[in-house]
């Protein structure tokens, strides 16, 4: 009996020991700091980081213009007339859809009635951006020929932006950043309204004590100007007030042509928008076997960034899925790289522009069939006068790629 009890105790102790060992076996903590112990008691391999500037590796470059025109832009940029040759001056041109001779009598009723008399108009303008540091902005509206179209340029329209055609002014509240303002016009605002078959067009300028800009909504972003007509209509012999509105069927903004590009000069941004295509030759030691840690496209402006006072130009570098020149399809930018891939350049910026293209250059190594080319463009395109110009390949200050990489490393050293 005593022996059996003794055997039982032995078995229990053994089981406890095995269980204890099993518990200990579950953990491992080998992590040790190498600071101060290297290189003697560290593995022999070391990460060697190389940084190289590929300054003469542009093998082809072109600027293409006309991707987005002013009439296709998401906003219409108004720039006050500062009198400066280095700042643009721009005006919006909006032609509204034709109004009908008759108006609906009431909501839910398809019966229409003849317009007896126009009482007034309102124009509603959606502000989509402006100088935040400027006060006292005003929008000034002018009456334009009702048949104005895309052929009209700044100079051709200048006679119509005159006191004689001025139809109203609406102040932009200093606190308004994104919202609408409206202006009531009397019935004489468009004296040729009936003769023009119930059509109207307006021009809008920005007036400010100091150079300033304001962006107003356009058709492309469903934020265009709205012209509302208030009229008396014939309802069974009785004149009753009714109103209807029209969106534009055409809107754009015009400005004097910017200074011409010099030879050997590329441009990005502007109106109509321009893009620059840069093709690179990447050395095999980088492209074939290295691990790229960081790659930066370096652009040196030849002149300060042109644009509206207080505005800024956002430029982005994108890869190409195929290189077919101006119409090369662009590779979308991964969301986590987006903020690094673009740079925001204030008007007047003259310093070097650096765009992070790390994932792009890594992609060139992983997918050798991808064109080793970068398209630089403004974003959004065509919505501002912001334009950066930089030297072409081969010229001083030519576009360059700065690549930080680790050459091939084999582990297993003893």
């Amino acid at each position: 009996m005593g022996m059996r009890r003794s055997q039982g105790r032995t078995t229990a102790v053994a089981a406890l020991l095995v269980a204890g060992a099993a518990v200990l076996a579950c953990g491992e903590d080998l992590l040790a700091p190498g600071d101060g112990t290297c290189p003697a008691y560290c593995p022999p391999e070391r990460v060697v980081v190389v940084d190289t500037l590929l300054a003469q590796n542009v093998t082809g470059d072109s600027t293409f213009v006309g991707y987005v025109r002013a009439s296709e832009a998401g906003v219409l940029q108004l720039v006050s007339d500062s009198g400066s040759a280095t700042l643009p001056t721009s005006r919006a041109v909006v032609r509204f859809r034709q109004f009908s001779e008759r108006m609906l009598l009431g909501a839910g009723d398809t019966t229409t009635a003849a317009v007896l008399q126009i009482d007034s108009f309102t124009v509603e303008v959606d502000i989509r951006g402006r100088n935040l540091d400027q006060a006292g902005l005003e929008l000034v509206l002018y009456r334009l020929p009702a048949d104005v179209d895309t052929t009209a340029d700044f100079d051709a329209l200048t006679p119509f932006f005159d006191d004689s055609t001025r139809i109203g002014t609406v102040p932009v509240p200093d606190t308004l950043i994104d919202g609408s303002v409206s202006l009531r016009l009397d019935s004489t605002a468009f004296p040729m309204f009936a003769a023009d078959s119930n059509r109207a067009a307006v021009g809008v300028t920005l007036q400010a004590p100091n150079p300033a800009y304001a962006n107003i909504g356009s058709l492309e972003t469903n934020a265009a100007l709205i012209l509302t007509r208030f009229a008396q209509v014939d309802s069974a012999g009785t004149a009753v007030p009714r109103s209807d509105g029209r969106l534009p069927n055409f809107d754009t903004f015009v400005a004097p042509a910017p200074p011409a590009r010099g030879p050997g000069e590329h441009a990005t941004g502007g109106v109509p928008s321009a893009r620059t295509l840069l093709r690179f030759a990447i050395p095999a030691r980088v492209a074939d076997s290295a691990t790229v840690l960081r790659a930066t496209l370096v652009l040196v402006p030849t002149t300060p960034v042109f644009g509206a006072p207080g505005d800024s130009l956002r430029v982005i570098a994108q890869g190409l899925s195929a290189d077919v020149g101006a119409k090369s399809p662009l590779v979308s930018v991964p969301p986590d790289s987006l903020t690094r891939r673009w740079a925001v350049l204030p008007t007047g910026w003259a310093d070097t522009v650096r765009l992070d293209v790390t994932d792009l250059v890594i992609g060139w190594s992983r997918f050798p069939s991808r064109p080793r080319a970068i398209m630089v463009r403004g974003t959004p395109e065509g919505s501002s006068f912001g334009e950066v110009r930089f030297a072409a390949g081969g010229a001083p200050g030519a576009p360059a790629l700065q690549i930080t990489f680790v050459p091939p490393l084999t582990l297993g050293g003893r």
């Binding site: 055997q7 032995t10 078995t11 102790v13 053994a14 020991l17 095995v18 060992a21 099993a22 200990l24 076996a25 579950c26 953990g27 491992e28 903590d29 080998l30 992590l31 040790a32 700091p33 190498g34 600071d35 101060g36 112990t37 290297c38 290189p39 003697a40 008691y41 560290c42 593995p43 022999p44 391999e45 990460v47 980081v49 940084d51 691990t291 790229v292 840690l293 960081r294 690094r340 992070d356 790390t358 890594i362 700065q402 930080t404 680790v406 490393l409 084999t410 582990l411 297993g412 050293g413 003893r414």
Partner: protein, 376 residues
């Protein structure tokens, strides 16, 4: 028998996918830290019985002593700390399963056999290094981490002949095979730089042959001698040959005295020509000496006490160092063992205090090891 089966299943469940052994800061350079090739009983005795122990894959002549089928598995946990220069690190911990053996006797013939799996060298480490480097004219903080998981294993097939009750002879073939998963990564404090990581798989192959003899000239006296030669190790990284490394010749000699059944003293000396590998390595490689001795008091089979007390001492020089100063190791050990299931199962436990010095570093470790032996 059923209990034995349960124990076997439990043992298998405890074994991890990779059988790798002890690690040390002295195993970062060279081929790694040499394995101990002994059981918890052997470790408790300072490695003293290594030259005769049937369950230790040192002397193939030992396997002739297997009375019946024997299955053995061992594990070891170490708690470690080291000092290099002004840097001291504590709290490192690892558990490994460095020994597995199945042996037995060929029917009624006087021939014993064993297949064993032991750790030849261990090369597991995880080292971080913080630094600041200048990138694009700006100081950038970086953290490097180097990890190796693996080592070289020694798969041995041994045959021993009981020539007479006093003489045993044995030979063995050793297949050396190993792999280590290596990775090196760098994180930059500036997120504009992408993290860097490179991984490789390091493979080592080799072959070895050993032969030995155990002679008992008198009752209570045993002498053991063994020799082993290993070929060059072929090393590949990611399937690309990287060259060969000369592996050492090993000579073993041991003596055991048992004046009474309840008292055993044993000592084993091992010499290995690790300096053969020196030209093939970036680190320095030295020949090594290892002297281990131990005293065992009592034990279930002696009739004196059911629980033995084991005491051991071991001195060993270590094969690899970054400098000309060869490191060495002193180990003090204590252990015991339990038998159960009618002496068909044995659990041996050893606790060691290892002190390593040399090569500009020092290391201290507590090592707890256990071996479960089943004799169905």
């Amino acid at each position: 028998m059923r209990r034995v089966a349960i124990v076997l299943v439990a043992l298998c469940a405890l074994l991890p996918g990779e059988l790798i052994g002890q690690n040390s800061i002295y195993g970062i350079r060279g081929l790694g830290f040499p394995g101990r090739w002994t059981t918890a009983r052997g470790r408790a005795l300072g490695g003293g019985p290594g030259a005769f122990d049937p369950v230790s894959p040192i002397n193939p002549a030992g396997v002739a002593a297997f009375p019946r089928v024997t299955v053995l598995a061992g594990a070891s946990t170490d708690l470690r700390g080291y000092t290099v220069g002004d840097v001291s690190v504590d709290g490192l911990r690892a558990t490994r399963f460095p020994l597995l053996l199945i042996g037995g006797r060929a029917g009624s013939l006087p021939i014993g056999f064993a297949v064993s799996y032991a750790q030849y060298t261990e090369r597991s480490y995880d080292v971080t290094l913080a630094d600041t480097i200048d990138l694009r004219g700006v100081p950038v903080a970086v953290t490097d981490r180097t990890i190796s998981q693996g080592g070289v294993s020694d798969l041995r097939g041994a045959v021993g002949v009981l020539v007479s009750p006093r003489l045993r002879l044995g030979v063995a073939v050793h297949m050396l095979s190993g792999s280590a998963k290596l990775s090196l990564s760098r994180q930059f404090a500036d997120s504009a730089y992408r993290p860097y990581r490179v991984t490789s798989e390091d493979r080592t192959k080799g072959l070895g042959f050993s032969a030995g003899v155990v002679w008992a000239p008198l009752a209570g006296v045993q002498l053991g001698l063994a020799a082993r030669t290993d070929t060059k190790a072929d090393i590949e990284v990611d399937s690309t040959p990287q060259g060969t490394v000369n592996l050492p010749t090993t000579l073993v000699a041991g003596l055991e005295l048992a004046p009474i059944p309840a008292l055993r003293w044993s000592a084993t000396g091992i010499w290995r020509s690790w300096s053969d590998a020196d030209p093939d390595l970036a680190a320095r490689a030295f020949d090594t000496w290892e002297i281990g001795t131990g005293l065992e008091l009592g034990g279930a089979e002696t009739g004196a006490s059911r629980v033995p007390l084991r005491l051991g001492f071991r001195y060993a020089t270590l094969p690899f160092a970054p400098a000309d100063d060869q490191p060495h190791e002193i180990t003090l050990a204590i252990g015991t063992g339990l038998t159960f299931a009618g002496n068909r199962a044995l659990l041996d436990v050893a606790l060691e205090r290892a002190m390593r010095n040399g090569g500009g570093a020092s290391e201290r470790a507590w090592q707890l090891s256990w071996t479960m032996t089943v004799r169905p």
